[in-house]
């Protein structure tokens, strides 16, 4: 008896394809290693994450340990990640907000628990509620004011966070403040289609938008690919096979002998001494002020900028850590835009804590840890209290928690639906 491979193998391809498609309907948090990955896969319209979710990951670990396939470098920690009805990471029930924070993964708190995010800690330090609007890539005034309107913030602070390595792509032109003029990350297809759905009245267009969104999500996330990649990573453990993922993080050794992982992008030397552009920021500040809001720019140093002097062997001798953010800080100060550059306080504090074996960033992650966030919150509060303009913009707040270090209670979002994942 002869088996016809011409029939068998195409069917096999079809079976694998169908399995792949079916698995894409699985809840994404089953196959992701951190909650923000799961929640970013299907974000709410205008938000950065899926709305009204509460995830609890008891075994979360750092992004660099995951990217570089270094299981023995994982530092496990409890991660709770709660989103509100707008698709932003806010564990507290909605209140009267005094400030809103926009920015990237540092601002929304990748790798840290709900209770330790910058808005949560800043709220503690200031004694005011701070809304976390980070993660959606909002840049232009229309997007920012859209959020402030939705949360009812008519007076207060708008804090725009930027991490050092992203300053290369920061908008430079005042026209970027106008809605749609600057798009740092082009909107994904489903957002564009969904936008079409909103703009048009046609049922067909809305259906196309919805369909496009679902199709793109399904296309983007393949559990079968994730499972097989994990299997592949398990084999590429530097014993059975060399670890080809290792180059996605750079291992450094500190002078005390501790290891620390760095994101390769951090180590890239800034070859050009670009002038620090302020046009975007001054225009944004003007626009926000016209709506009763005051802008504060927050510059977060890369981990390498803070720790490069504490490395036993330099990882990027040609790099000029912090130069670009210092330049921007000076330019913004000259232009009258309030700015907090965390480089100085982070470098000093990191050196001080280093003697005790404590750090401001996770060692297995490119992001800061709760201790680093606390320093940032205190620094923001210090600058805000020392700036009359900012102080005036802040509505009357309650008392800050004792020393700003009181134990915070974890609260679940108003419409949060509890679920957990291993």
């Amino acid at each position: 008896m002869t088996v016809r491979l011409g029939r068998l193998l195409p069917r096999l391809v079809l079976v694998v394809f169908v399995v792949d498609v079916v698995l894409r309907a699985l809840p994404v948090h089953w196959v992701t290693y951190r909650p923000d990955e799961a929640l970013r896969a299907r974000p709410a319209r205008g938000g950065g994450f899926a709305a009204n979710r509460a995830y609890r990951y008891p075994h979360g670990y750092g992004d660099l340990a995951a990217l570089a396939n270094l299981p023995d470098r994982r530092e496990y920690r409890l991660l709770r990640f709660t989103t509100d009805e707008l698709g932003f990471r806010n564990a507290t029930a909605r209140a009267a907000f005094a400030a809103v924070l926009f920015g990237d993964s540092f601002a929304y708190g990748s790798g840290i628990d709900d209770a330790d995010t910058l808005p949560a800690q800043l709220g503690d330090v200031l004694g005011c509620a701070v809304y976390n609007a980070a993660g959606a890539g909002a840049h232009h005034a229309g997007e920012i004011l859209g959020v402030t309107r939705r949360i009812g913030l008519s007076r207060g602070l708008v804090i725009m966070e930027r991490v050092e390595r992203e300053l290369r792509t920061v908008p430079t032109d005042a026209s970027a403040v106008v809605a749609g003029a600057f798009v740092a990350d082009p909107a994904p297809m489903h957002v564009r289609l969904a936008g079409m759905g909103r703009a048009g009245t046609s049922l067909l267009t809305r259906a196309a938008g919805r369909l496009g969104r679902e199709a793109e999500m399904m296309a983007a996330l393949s559990p079968l690919r994730i499972f097989t990649t994990r299997l592949h990573k398990a084999i590429e453990n530097d014993r059975l096979l060399p670890n080809s993922y290792a180059r996605q993080a750079v291992m450094g050794t500190l002078v005390n002998g501790d290891w620390m992982l760095f994101y390769p992008d951090e180590l890239q030397a800034d070859t050009e001494s670009a002038p620090a552009p302020t046009a975007y920021w001054t225009a944004l500040r003007r626009e926000l002020r016209a709506h009763g809001l005051e802008l504060l720019v927050l510059l977060v140093p890369d981990k390498h900028t803070v720790y490069h002097e504490l490395l036993r062997t330099p990882l990027a001798p040609a790099a000029r850590p912090g130069e670009r953010m210092d330049g921007l800080e000076h330019a913004l100060t000259d232009a009258g835009v309030p700015v907090v550059n965390l480089r100085g306080v982070f470098t000093t504090t990191a050196r001080r804590l280093f003697a005790r074996g404590q750090y401001l960033y996770w060692r297995d992650d490119t992001h800061w840890n709760p201790r680093g966030v606390r320093i940032a919150a205190e620094e923001i509060a210090r600058v805000a209290r020392g700036n009359d303009g900012l102080l005036r913009a802040l509505p009357p707040c309650g008392s800050p928690t004792a020393g700003g270090r009181g134990r915070r209670r974890h609260r679940r979002g108003r419409a949060g639906r509890a679920s957990s994942a291993a």
Partner: protein
């Protein structure tokens, strides 16, 4: 797009296949295959589609000229113009910077007061070495009267841009698939289907399970070749020897299989080359479409072996030097070609003596000579080649290699397949249930590996 990618298996191949068998007319099938060839090519760089179209059109018109004219002068024009144009394009894209670099080094070495222009920003169009040779064989064979050039532009475009052999061969001559192209509207789908999938599955497993596994270990090890021990250097080069064979012959098997799915029988490109008992035998078995091209379009026109020993040796050396240069714009490839040229000359000189040895010994000796040659082929420069050869032949310790056990097992398995098993063309491709299950299992494993690690490019795509 790679044959070993999900986009190809889930999208390109099914659509191309279904539409091909839905359309009935010959010209429609030519047009469809030509169109899909351009789509396939556009996945790398759509801008170079125009270059391929231009080369196709010029050769097609030259073919029409050969059909129409009988006088020697015009026919010669139809021969020379497209070949010069093809070679000029190939030379510009592939060898300009090589030439500039070589001149710069020579000028620097001689301290000559000559300003050499800086390197140009040239992107090498993928597959140009292959489709250029397709069009050259077509024109030369048309000129010689070995084929009758086609009047059907779509048939010719289909021949040049057939996706199965577009970017890494085999170098198919028009006469080799002319009959199948003529009968493309009468192709027997059922007869070709099993054969096509059988070739494809075996080729995919060779590439994904063997070649890629070896590459996963030796690539990082060879990146630090200065730290290899003698055993490590030999293991890496043995690994590379089998990686290259399983990668390229796997690709060729897949190409042959894909050709069958569309009723086209592409020629054999590898005939168990590591079973060769001498170096001439090796070249009759390795990359057959290239070696026969070099033989028929270079070695024989140079005079072959008809003009005495010295001229034969010169022809062998020249042919192999150019064969080496065809592989890449680097002096290491030229040196590799020269090495094989010298081996062929030496074999010709001592053939009676060599042939007196037992077959197993000749096979082993030939294999080792080939492995040593692959050092030049793999090395990025002569420094690397010298270091690797030094580490192979002068015993010395070195750093431990990650994955050495897996590499040893895979190389042993690959060697057993290469030396003991029949090659893909020797298989009957009639599978009883148990072997069929094995093939299906290997195919499924390959698919999952593609999911897990993504498809890796074939080594010969760079040429």
């Amino acid at each position: 797009m790679l044959f070993n990618s999900l986009a190809f298996l889930y999208g390109f191949l099914p659509v191309t296949y279904v539409v091909f068998w839905l359309v009935r007319s010959r010209t429609a099938r030519y047009a469809w295959l030509a169109f899909t060839g351009y789509v396939f090519y556009a996945f790398w760089n759509y801008k170079f589609c125009a270059l391929m179209a231009f080369s196709t059109l010029v050769s097609y018109l030259a073919g029409l000229g050969l059909l129409r004219w009988d006088d020697r002068r015009r026919r010669r024009l139809c021969l020379v113009v497209p070949i010069v144009m093809d070679l000029a394009l190939l030379g510009f894209f592939k060898y300009t910077n090589f030439l500039l670099d070589s001149i710069r080094h020579a000028v620097s070495w001689l301290h000559a007061p000559v300003v050499v222009p800086p390197p140009l920003e040239i992107v090498l169009p993928v597959g140009i070495s292959f489709y250029t040779f397709h069009t050259i064989t077509y024109i030369v064979d048309g000129y010689r009267g070995a084929i009758r050039p086609t009047r059907n532009l779509f048939e010719f475009a289909c021949y040049v841009s057939l996706f199965a052999q577009l970017v890494a061969g085999p170098i198919v001559r028009f006469r080799q698939i002319e009959a199948d192209l003529d009968a493309i509207d009468r192709a027997d789908r059922a007869r070709h289907l099993d054969l096509g999938w059988s070739f494809f599955a075996v080729g995919l497993a060779k590439k994904v399970l063997i070649a890629d596994t070896i590459a996963a270990v030796i690539d990082p090890a060879l990146a630090r070749y200065g730290e290899l021990s003698t055993a490590g250097a030999w293991l890496c080069m043995l690994g590379y020897t089998f990686q290259l064979y399983f990668d390229f012959s796997g690709y060729s098997d897949m190409a042959v299989g894909l050709g069958h799915l569309f009723g086209l029988r592409l020629p054999q490109n590898f005939n168990s080359p590591y079973k060769a008992v001498d170096i001439a035998d090796f070249w009759r078995r390795w990359h057959i479409s290239l070696s026969t091209f070099l033989r028929d379009y270079l070695y024989v026109p140079l005079g072959g072996n008809r003009r005495g020993a010295l001229i034969t040796y010169r022809n062998l050396l020249l042919t192999m030097l150019l064969g080496g240069l065809w592989h890449g714009a680097s002096w290491t490839f030229v040196a590799w070609g020269a090495y094989h040229g010298l081996l062929l000359v030496a074999y010709r000189a001592i053939a009676p003596l060599w042939d007196r040895q037992p077959a197993w010994l000749r096979r082993a000796e030939t294999f080792i000579l080939v492995v040593v040659g692959w050092v030049l082929f793999r090395a990025s420069d002569f420094g690397m080649a010298a270091t690797l050869l030094g580490r192979m032949f002068l015993p010395q310790p070195g750093a431990a290699m990650a994955g050495v056990e897996v590499l040893t097992i895979t190389v042993a398995l690959a060697a057993a397949v290469a030396w003991l098993a029949p090659n893909t063309f020797e298989l009957r491709h009639r599978w009883s249930p148990l072997p069929a299950l094995g093939v299906a299992g290997l195919f499924a494993l390959s698919l999952l590996k593609i999911y897990g690690s993504g498809g890796t490019p074939f080594l010969y795509f760079q040429f």
